[in-house]
């Protein structure tokens, strides 16, 4: 236990205009260990890591690496010194191949003209992927991959630097269980090779499975560093949250009313077929299945983002034609999409503009102009209600932490006062405290008679919240299970097509 620290960050303070993101934080890690960084949304985890790899300069503080004080002015410098990071928000070059993405900026070259050696690049990628048990063609375009696969490529890329410190900022938020297991095998291997791994996640079970040490931040303050075996979930949560937590799945039994939505034989050629279900007033319908089962595609079709090949949709007994999200919103539907970056936020716009965009019609006054006062009032109200951490509603949303961005999107859709609320992975990247808040919000909405469809890859969430669970496998509906009959085993059986 007298082993030297590989990396030490001391007295780190970071001030953004209007926000003190970090206040005298300390962080130390040894080689060959996994050190988790925990804290609520906006606690400062990503910021601390961005300081480490030279994206942000610290306002104050020192970094010692291999017993030498270092200053990383930019990411390149950190990479060359052996520190790499898998970012919370992916940024692949979509139209290029996997291998080009992995070796971007450090392509192998040949000859006096230093032309890119594509063959070598291909072989290196092939070897790297094989080494990590990833069965993907290096020449595949990034854009053709699922989000989960892209994430695995990102992980491969971080490994390819052969760094001594690998930072993983919420690497599993887009992964399915199988890929998570895969990632853990990779982490285990890196650890055995003597690398230091910094791990950030909001999933408690993961943290306790892989961590050696845990550092907790709260609101930019350093709370402490603990050995993983000293803590359990409850202790860790109370350190993070600093208060008693409400029940995780506050499901309120409420009266389930008439049929609100009926979907009959919905199909999209080559993607999914024969999807039929009903959704009642006040009901929460969970939608479970492995990634790739077609869940997202089904709800995107219902919401008018994809063209259906066949099938009908009825709302309140009336057949409706929904060809675009605009039509869907007119029919009082709302969809919180799973891909926050791609179909969610407007990075350069304010929290305020991000909140009201889907409900803008409400704010048009008789003279055609917008009612800015009403807009402001509503935004403030929702910001407080779901506790979005931001210095003001005029802050650009790109400056918010990932989880807080997600909360703004939740607010966006709540504001439209929908009858049918579709949530695709609503709590992705959201911390435990906020998760419980969002769950209770969902329950409350159902209690008001709203109908809710919730996709989630976290089975406990689906089981905890749903009145019924619809399960999909390989583009088909394999079953609908009542709350009282639903269990992890039953759902997994349907989800793997073995029932």
């Amino acid at each position: 236990m007298t082993q030297q620290y590989l990396l030490e960050m001391r007295d780190i303070t970071k001030v953004f205009p209007g926000v003190k993101a970090l206040d005298n934080v300390e962080f130390k890690i040894k080689s060959g260990t996994v050190h988790s960084l925990m804290g609520e949304n906006g606690a400062g985890k990503s910021t601390l890591m961005k300081i480490l790899i030279g994206i942000h300069p610290p306002t104050n503080g020192k970094i010692t690496y291999k017993n030498k004080e270092v200053v990383f002015e930019n990411t390149n410098k950190a990479l060359n010194m052996g520190i790499s990071m898998i970012h919370q928000e992916l940024s692949p070059v979509l139209h290029r191949t996997i291998m080009e993405n992995i070796w971007l900026g450090r392509e192998p070259v040949k000859g006096p003209l230093r032309l890119v050696d594509h063959k070598k690049m291909y072989n290196m990628t092939k070897e790297l992927l094989k080494d990590l048990d990833l069965d993907i063609d290096p020449k595949e375009k990034m854009a053709n991959l699922t989000v989960a696969k892209m994430q695995m490529i990102e992980i491969a890329k971080a490994v390819s630097y052969n760094s001594e410190v690998v930072i993983m900022d919420e690497p599993t938020s887009a992964l399915t269980d199988r890929e998570v297991e895969h990632l853990f095998r990779i982490i285990e291997r890196l650890k055995n090779q003597g690398k230091a791994i910094i791990y950030i996640s909001h999933k408690m079970d993961e943290i306790f499975r892989i961590s050696d040490e845990i550092t907790v931040l709260r609101d930019g303050q350093y709370i402490g560093t603990y050995l993983a075996q000293e803590l359990d979930t409850n202790k860790l949560i109370s350190l993070m949250v600093g208060r008693q937590l409400d029940e995780m799945f506050p499901k309120v039994e409420c009266e389930i009313g008439d049929i609100r939505l009926e979907v009959k034989n919905l199909a999209v050629e080559g993607v999914f077929k024969d999807v039929s279900f009903i959704l009642r007033k006040g009901e929460i319908l969970g939608l479970a299945g492995l990634v790739g089962a077609g869940r997202t595609e089904v709800i995107e079709t219902i919401f008018g983002m994809r063209n259906k090949t066949s099938g009908e949709v009825y709302i309140d007994g009336r057949k409706v034609k929904i060809n675009s999200p605009e039509d869907a919103i007119k029919n009082k539907m709302a969809l919180l999409t799973e891909d926050r970056r791609h179909t969610g936020i407007f990075p350069m716009l304010s929290v305020k503009d991000n909140t009201v965009i889907a409900n803008i019609n409400k704010y048009v006054k008789g003279n055609g102009l917008l009612d800015h006062k009403l807009i402001k009032g509503d935004c403030e109200k929702y910001k407080d209600a779901i506790r979005v951490k931001t210095p003001s509603i005029d802050q650009l949303i790109q400056n918010l932490s990932g989880g807080n961005q997600q909360k703004v999107l939740v607010a966006r859709w709540l504001l439209t006062d929908p009858d049918i609320l579709i949530l695709d992975e609503p709590t992705r990247g959201i911390d435990v405290g906020a998760k419980a808040e969002i769950h209770s919000l969902i329950s409350e909405l159902a209690g008001q008679g709203k109908s809710i469809i919730m996709i989630s890859s976290e089975l406990p969430e689906v089981l905890g919240m749903s009145d019924r669970v619809m399960v999909m496998y390989d583009g088909r509906m394999t079953g609908i299970v009542d709350r009282k009959d639903a269990s992890q085993e039953v759902i997994m059986k349907y989800a793997t097509g073995s029932m």
Binding site: E326, T343, M348, I360
Partner: protein, 326 residues
């Protein structure tokens, strides 16, 4: 903290400070510069480019580009002029046409601009071709149309009331300036106080998210380009009135000046960022530069070179300001 705040204000309003510094510099260099007459002159000179750049600003905020403004201006100018010639002029384009009230050529210019712009927008929205290509096509075709319509000849001898639009004064203020300032105000309201404006920012900021949020992207794109066309048409009317003739070769490369004004004003070509105040000041900066360099007797060639440098310099400063925020 206070230093921080000052820094923030300077970077946010940087372009306005640049403008003020330019004005101060010019007035020190030339005593004539800061006279009311000369300043009015500056605004009048930029009013045509300025009007175009208002529409171009909306286009660029939506992450598009409009290369057709100069040509659309020409078509609008020649058609409006052909409907606004004096009754007794011997070389009238339509000899049997009576002298028409001014509203006719005006509406014609606006309608032509609107239609050309709507075609741009429809092409972009419905076929998905890049705005660069769609408006490049319009730039070439509209120029051809203007030549075809006039057979390559100027359309001159316009009515008094027509000329008034380009040369008249109201309360001592040139009419083009009044029209320009009115359009600045209208466009500002449109962008900041209407649903349309919010939709423009959303489309430029993240087109996929805009769609999911229920923004009708196609319809809004058509509206954006149509509005830009409308302003180009209006600019054509004003310009032809000022020079008392509509020429098919008018407005060549005006689209580039308008894009320059917009860009100097801080509108980002990566979409979602930009203001009308910026576009206004951007146009004034170009105007002050032209005017000042003229007063100082700098040759037209050098003026070109300096202008190019200023455009690039302004964007570099702007990018640095955005980069620092990260």
């Amino acid at each position: 903290m206070n230093v921080d705040k000052t820094k923030k204000i300077i970077s946010k309003y940087g372009i306005y400070f640049v403008f003020i510094i330019m004005v101060i510099g010019m007035s020190l260099a030339s005593p004539v510069f800061l006279t009311g007459r000369n300043l009015m002159n500056v605004i009048r000179q930029v009013s045509v480019i300025g009007m175009i750049s208002l529409g171009v600003t909306l286009v660029i905020i939506s992450k598009g580009i409009d290369l057709s403004s100069g040509s659309v201006l020409a078509v609008a100018a020649v058609v409006a002029a052909s409907l606004g010639q004096r009754g007794n002029w011997h070389a009238k384009m339509f000899p049997n046409l009576p002298e028409l009230p001014i509203i006719v050529p005006l509406l014609a210019a606006l309608a032509i601009g609107l239609i050309c712009g709507a075609i741009n927008g429809t092409l972009i929205a419905k076929t998905g071709i890049p705005a660069f290509i769609a408006t490049l096509g319009m730039m070439v075709s509209a120029r051809g149309l203007a030549l075809l319509y006039t057979d390559g000849r100027p359309v001159s001898s316009l009515t008094e009331s027509y000329q008034y639009i380009g040369q008249g004064y109201i309360l001592g203020i040139p009419v083009p300036v009044i029209i320009y300032l009115t359009m600045v105000l209208v466009t500002w309201v449109l962008l900041n106080h209407t649903k349309f404006g919010k939709n423009i920012y959303a489309i430029g900021g993240n087109i996929h998210a805009a769609e999911v949020s229920g923004v009708n992207v196609q319809r809004n794109l058509i509206k954006i380009y149509a509005y830009a066309g409308l302003l180009a048409g209006l600019a054509g009317m004003v310009l032809s009135a000022r020079v008392n003739t509509g020429q098919p070769g008018m407005g060549v490369s005006y689209e580039l000046d308008a894009i320059a004004a917009t860009t100097i004003g801080g509108t980002s070509h990566s979409g979602g960022i930009g203001t009308i105040g910026g576009a206004f000041v951007g146009a004034l900066i170009l105007g002050v530069l032209n005017n000042g360099l003229n007063l100082l007797g700098v040759s037209a060639y050098w003026q070109q070179i300096i202008k190019g440098g200023i455009i690039v310099g302004a964007v570099i400063i702007d990018m640095r300001k955005n980069a620092k925020k990260k």
